[in-house]
Symmetry: C2
Subunit: 408 residues, 2 copies
Amino acid sequence: MRVEILSIGTELLLGEIANTDARDISLMLAELGMSTLYHTVVGDNPERVRDALRTALSRVDIVITTGGLGPTYDDLTKEMCAEVFGLPLELHEPSLELIRERFRGFGRPMTSNNVKQAYLPRGCTVFCNDWGTAPGCAIEKDGRYLLMLPGPPKECVPMFRVCAMPYLAALEHSAIHSDWIRLFGIGESEMESRLHKLMEHAVNPSVAPYAKEGECLVRVTSRDVTEDAAALRNAPVVRDVCAQLGDFVYGVNVDSLEQVVVRRFTDAHLTLCCAESCTGGLLSARITDIPGASAVFLGSAVTYSNAAKTALLGVSPDTLAAHGAVSAETAREMAVGVRTRFSADVGISITGIAGPASDDTKKPVGLVYIALAHADGVDVREFHFSGSRERIRRASASNALDMLRRLP
Amino acid sequence: MRVEILSIGTELLLGEIANTDARDISLMLAELGMSTLYHTVVGDNPERVRDALRTALSRVDIVITTGGLGPTYDDLTKEMCAEVFGLPLELHEPSLELIRERFRGFGRPMTSNNVKQAYLPRGCTVFCNDWGTAPGCAIEKDGRYLLMLPGPPKECVPMFRVCAMPYLAALEHSAIHSDWIRLFGIGESEMESRLHKLMEHAVNPSVAPYAKEGECLVRVTSRDVTEDAAALRNAPVVRDVCAQLGDFVYGVNVDSLEQVVVRRFTDAHLTLCCAESCTGGLLSARITDIPGASAVFLGSAVTYSNAAKTALLGVSPDTLAAHGAVSAETAREMAVGVRTRFSADVGISITGIAGPASDDTKKPVGLVYIALAHADGVDVREFHFSGSRERIRRASASNALDMLRRLP
């Protein structure tokens, strides 16, 4: 079925925020095997909302609106949709009760304008909002479907996944289940060539590769009568994809490399510390972004200057003089030094040139050494990254995380 | 004048990227005093591109397209625009020469399909692409304007600012100049109430307040016959805005708090180091994100565990036992300790509870202490932040940067 996403909100047209809702919903529609043909954004203007709705309904099967469900006078999505569909808005008592309950949770009185949020088109399917106050809903007429979702991404995206996806899957008398396989260290074309045979005949489940922010991922989606049946149908293909991609796979249905590292160290009862030069704290910041990191992460020494490398980590001034701060030798002494200082099971170090200019050694921008000190010795790797300062710093931290998750 | 932004690219409809071009162009159109009425996204499909163009030209004065200017067969924006305007595409030799030159710079041969990028509608105004290969352009017919820009944000956004903004300003026989005033520590409503009188009668220059990511900013824009004249017209209003907002202003036409801190320390020949607990390296990562940070930043100790606070920073075990890791006393000893260890002019420390759970002391999530150790003593501040782990960590690092830029 063909879909249009119609986002309603003047803040989008003023450039205050990007339309991430449309991106995230499109990605989930692709999981459902549905084609998004248009994204449209209009402001909080009754005539333009009405016209945009009519245009959308004339050219697709399913229209999904985001925004304009709130309590204020300029929130007018439901009013315009009800008008176009010829349906009255009626008070939906269970939704009103949920809004009241939410305000009790905030410890604030519910102002009367919030009642507006509980008025919904007669006969609609209600999408309960567990992430905010305004409920969403779906209406159908003459084989055209209209789904309304709130605008804030923290409400819109989970409501789409939890409420709208099963609703849309049911239109085709089925349920779906997706698994996401995450990869590091492999390029997009290498991934696609390894999966080529598997993808060629893959219909149900479908196999879709993606690349973003220096990582690759593969989505495997099955459709069946129930989600459990779809999950079962997915399982052997997920195994095949993982087998084709080997140890480039760092996890299935996980969030990030840092999450996998924290889990692995937690399960193995190992402690970790870092010594960072060119990344300047970025690796530590990514690890400590994971709740529960304190169980494994003891701390880091961010040693930007040579003096700090010696004072905090015990890097020998002779090593620095002979090989420079950006060298395998310095990386090795940093990793060993930080592991000793923190009395940790594992110490990892990064030293390199993030640019935009080189240091005074004429070593190239993008040259980075990463060393891993553990009970059995020290591993040092040399990298040559390209791109901006930000990209080199990010790639350095990601590769350090990759070395940590591959720890023997 | 009324504007529609029409973005062309199937990757947007697949949810691979968000439409940040539309956001960024909308923000720049607001600088010009122009109203964006619609954002539309369509895929690389000739019929839908043609229809979307016709619809856009029927409802606004200016249509701005992004994307579809590249060398491949599915890049069809120029072809469809030329068709709708009834103009032939002609080879533009200077553009072809620039594309050839760019490939010489890459050290790669130019494949023949790249010639397509140098074909432009007859009589158009060419926007030279200094950031990529595909030139942009503008055409006019019967008082309707159509501007075409490349899709990649790194090309689209600077081309809009450098080429399209002057073109659009000239349509109204004027040039514009904007200044951006950046603030920290003040809320959106307080900012607006302080600026109320100034904004009330502000037409040329216009004064527009914005809030984003925990910071506020004010744009002041003048229109005049030349950009220099517009800049002169802006100056007294910029001074008035700064006077109204006092020391909440951290800079005019700067990028970030961290940039201001690195500049201030560089100018004052002061060195800096950090001791981070709950922020786990985030403050250091933000400082070292600024090119040239190595002139002032010596390093950090990220001391997540109590043992590390003692071993690396010399925080007294008695202090930790009596007051806990999250206390004014521990923050003070961390700042003094790191300043001594790194032999720096200034040491700053952060210790707090970022959540989602508290530690075992029953102190509330969001409680954060920041201490600043300098030649004249130590300043300690207590904060109570709310929100997610990510938000508390970000607010902690931002407030530390704010204390650094306010250093006496």
